[in-house]
Structure formats: C-alpha cells, structure tokens
C-alpha cells in the first residue's frame, strides 16, 4: 500500500518539478504513439472504407484477416519487426533497429488493423438507404465518400481511440525493436518495466500513473470530440 501511495506522491513530484528525464520519456511516448496512430489512420481508414463498400472476390477473407489483425499480439509484431530490421535482415540496410522510427513502424502495424476494423463497422452501420439517397442527390464519387465518412465519424473516432489505446499501452514491441535505450527509445511502458527490475517500485508506479494520465487526457479529448453535439 505504501508503495502505491509513495508512487502517487512521486508521480506528482516528478510532474510538478518537470523532471527532465521523465518529461523527455513522456514526450517521446506521445510522439511515437501519436505518429504511429496517425500512420495507422492513413492506412486503416482507406482499407476499412474499401472493404466496407466494395464487393470483390476474397473480400470475406480479407475482412476476417483484418479482424484477426485487431488482436495481433504486440510481442509477435515486435519479433517480426525486429527480424526484418536487424542488420543482416531484409531491411537491415535502413539501419532502423533500436530507433524511435522502428517503434513507430511496429506500433503502426499493431494499430492499422484496429483502425481498419472499426472503420468497416462504422461505415457498414450507416443506414443503406442513406447511401442511395446521397447518390440519388447527384453526389460525385468524392462527395459520396466524404459524406459517408462524415456520417460514420463517431465510429471512426472510436477507431482512432482504440488504435491509440492499443499502441500507447503496449510494451512488448517497443521493448524489442526500440531496445529501451535511455534518452532515445525509452518510453513510459518500457521505463516502467526497467524500474521494476531495478526494484524501484515508487518510480515505476509514478511512471505508470503518468502513463495513465496521458492516455486518459488523449482519449478524453477524442471522446469529447466524439460526443460533442450529441
């Protein structure tokens, strides 16, 4: 109990005093996870839209692959990315292993299927007659797509929230491809693991608290956006 109490106090102290190392870790966590979420939105929303609207051979299989991908274990993604990025691996020439970019790649792989899956559900839950009506009113293809996405915005924001939540909380992939290098690829989750193995539970609790606060702020902002005007 005292550890939790002291951890909370330590979290407050670190935040109030703007501890440079903790600020650095927090900022990097935000940068990596936001960038990864952004990339997954660029990949996931178009794929989700196509899968929701188009009928083609193999669509059912692709959709089930996306749904399967929503539950991809981060540690498996981490291992796969690690193997691809090692010096003598297929993409070794890029020299990306143990960099924030490698973490962004792994996290984007984790989040993209989540965003795509939620997008499919969001667009398919739009009333089918609405689609006909939009077309009947003479919308161009682009207008049609934009209107559909706009109508599905609640679900799509849920997709972004879920994708972000998935990546900011994962530790397996970040640890493997980032290497938890101090001042370079250390993020809140990997720092917590390290502090636990060092036996510094108060600091670990403090870092966890900061991570929770960060995740809460971002998701709260997105939820506010989603629920506005409801």
């Amino acid at each position: 109990m005292s550890v939790i109490g002291e951890g909370l106090a330590e979290a407050v102290r670190l935040l109030v005093t703007l501890d440079p190392e903790v600020m650095d870790i927090t900022l990097r966590t935000l940068q990596v996870s936001c960038t990864a979420t952004f990339i997954s939105v660029l990949i996931g929303i178009p794929i989700g839209t196509v899968l929701a609207l188009k009928r083609f051979i193999g669509r059912g299989f692709t959709v089930s692959m996306v749904n399967f991908g929503m539950g991809l274990p981060p540690v498996v993604v981490g291992l796969g990315t690690w193997l691809c990025l090692t010096r003598y691996g297929p993409f070794g020439a890029l020299g990306l292993l143990y960099t924030p970019s490698a973490m962004i790649i792994a996290q984007a792989v984790i989040a993209s299927p989540i965003v795509a899956g939620f997008t499919i559900a969001a667009i398919q839950s739009i009333h089918p007659k609405l689609r006909l009506q939009i077309l009947a009113l003479g919308a161009t293809r682009i207008q049609y797509l934009l209107l559909l996405l706009w109508e599905a915005r609640l679900g799509i924001l849920a997709a972004v929230i879920a994708g972000f939540g998935g990546v900011i909380s994962e530790v397996g992939a970040s640890m493997m491809v980032g290497g938890n290098v101090r001042g370079y690829t250390r993020v809140l989750t990997t720092a917590t693991v390290l502090e636990v193995s060092k036996g510094r539970f108060e600091l670990a609790t403090a870092l966890s608290t900061i991570l929770l606060a960060l995740a809460f702020c971002i998701t709260a902002a997105l939820s506010y956006l989603q629920q506005r005007g409801r």
Binding site: F38, S101, G199
Partner: protein, 283 residues
C-alpha cells in the same frame, strides 16, 4: 461548427505527430549512423545501475551514442555471433570462449568480477547456510524446496546449470524448480514472494536488497566467481559492425579511470562495492 472543431483537432493531432516525425528525423540526422554503438549486455550491469554511471561518461568523452540492449548473456552472445551488436559485456567465460575461438569477437578483455551467492528465505528452511554451492544445491534438491531459476540462458543461468550438472542432478521438470524467464531483479522478487532459493550475482542482490525478504545463505565458493569480459564483435567478419566505436568502448571499460569508478560504485549506497575491477589481470 462541430465540423470545424473536428477538423481543427484533427489538424492538431496530425501536426503533433508530424513534429514527432520531424524530431525523430532531426535526431537521426544530427547523429550519423557510425556514431551509434550497440552494446549487448547482461541485465545485471543495467539493473545494478552501473551502466547508468559509465555510459553517460563514455558518451560525453567520445561523442558516441551507446544503445544499451539489456538482455541475458545468452541473447547478448547470440547478437554478437550474428553481428547484430558492436560490443558485448557479458559474464559467461565458457560460452564467450566459443565466440573468441570462432573469431566472432575480438579484443577480448577482462573487466571486473564479483561473485554469485545463493540466497533464500531468512529462516533457511532447507538448512544450506554455510555450505558450498554444490552441497547447497544438493540439499535443495533433496528437500525439494522451491528454487527459482532464471531459465533464460543468461550468464547466471549458465552458472546455475553448471552447478546442477556438477552434482548430476537434472532439476528440469521437478515440482520445486520454477523458471522465471526474467531478469535477475525480477527473479529475486519472485524468489522473495515465493520464499524460494535462487542463485544471484551479488551486485543485483545488493541493489535489490531493500525490496526483498531473502538473505545470502551461501557465499565465498570459488566455483561461484562471476567474471565480466568486454569484447568487440569482429568487424572483419561482419562488415556492418561499428569497429571504431566498439574499440573505443572496450578501451574505455579497461581504462584506469573507469576501473576506479567501477571499484567505487555502490560503496556509498551499500557499504561495499558491487564489482571489483580486474582489467589487465590474469584470470
């Protein structure tokens, strides 16, 4: 109105991620690739806090950036064997010798030592206190008391397996034998929670002492010496290895000044040093 707020926040979110991308790229541009050194090492040098003292000093003096990958010695050696690291700091001389013989690593230098100790519950239910390592292990096996093994092919795990082998006991699969599969710090915590015995390096135990309810029960055995070597991954065998950086790190580790810091490390906090500097000595 809602639409505008929606777009504004989207722009903000994207903008933030872009600054992220830019900063990431800037950082990469400011530090050319050859400046990066990948150091694969055992968890004990990281968990004890020693590298937190040495690495910043090395980086400041040389301008290199060290990417410390803290893994078990098994993984660290495997990374060296595949040319995936530039320099290794490990503590499994028998396994390291294989790499030296194969020519996977060069510039093999003795750095420091401490020792392994057998720790267990304060009351010592199995009664191993004061026994040698092999006697203690035999007693643990005979009485079937909980023993927590690292189980991760680390240097400590290799040492533990060697002791089991020397007394011809195969603990694998026994009910009292648990494999944690984690670093030394985490394994000590597990031993403390389960009130079991484990083999640990003294440094990590001292660093972790305040958090665990287990004591040193067997120590001072010659067989339990824990010797650390630093070595460069052979740049002639692996073209992508940062040979200059690796060489600089090896030289740094055996430099008199660094050796002095190693010898002093932990004295103020634990009353005794965690590691004993050995550079230049014969094993």
């Amino acid at each position: 109105m809602i639409k505008r707020i929606f777009i504004a926040s989207l722009v903000f979110f994207c903008g933030f991620s872009f600054t992220g991308m830019l900063q990431v790229q800037n950082a990469a541009a400011a530090e050319p690739k050859v400046k990066d050194i990948i150091l694969a090492t055992t968890t004990s040098t990281v968990d004890s806090g020693l590298l937190d003292v040495l690495i910043p000093k090395f980086e400041k003096e040389t301008g290199y950036r060290v990417k410390t990958i803290s893994a078990g010695t098994g993984q660290a050696l495997a990374m060296g064997e595949k040319g995936e690291a530039d320099v290794l700091l490990c503590h499994a001389p028998a396994a390291e010798k294989k790499l030296v013989d194969e020519g996977a690593v060069v510039n093999y230098q003795l750095v420091m030592h401490n020792d392994f100790v057998i720790v267990g519950p304060t009351g010592d239910p199995a009664g191993i206190k004061g026994k040698t390592s092999s006697e203690a292990f035999r007693t643990i096996a005979d009485k079937g008391v909980i023993f927590i093994s690292r189980g991760d092919d680390s240097g400590t795990h290799k040492k533990e397996k060697a002791v089991w082998k020397s007394i011809e006991v195969n603990p694998q699969g026994q009910k009292w034998y648990h494999e944690s599969g984690q670093g030394m710090g985490a394994t000590l915590l597990m031993a403390s929670e389960k009130q079991g015995y484990t083999l640990t390096d003294r440094g990590t135990y001292l660093a972790q002492k305040a958090n665990v309810k287990i004591d040193i029960l067997s120590e001072g055995d010659k067989a339990l010496l824990n010797i650390y070597h630093v070595m460069q991954v052979n740049p002639e065998k692996f073209g992508k290895v940062n040979s200059e950086g690796g060489k600089a790190f090896v030289e740094f580790m055996i430099a008199p000044e660094t050796q002095k810091i190693i010898g002093e490390f932990g004295k103020d906090k634990f009353g005794s040093p965690l590691f004993f500097p050995d550079a230049g000595k014969q094993m």
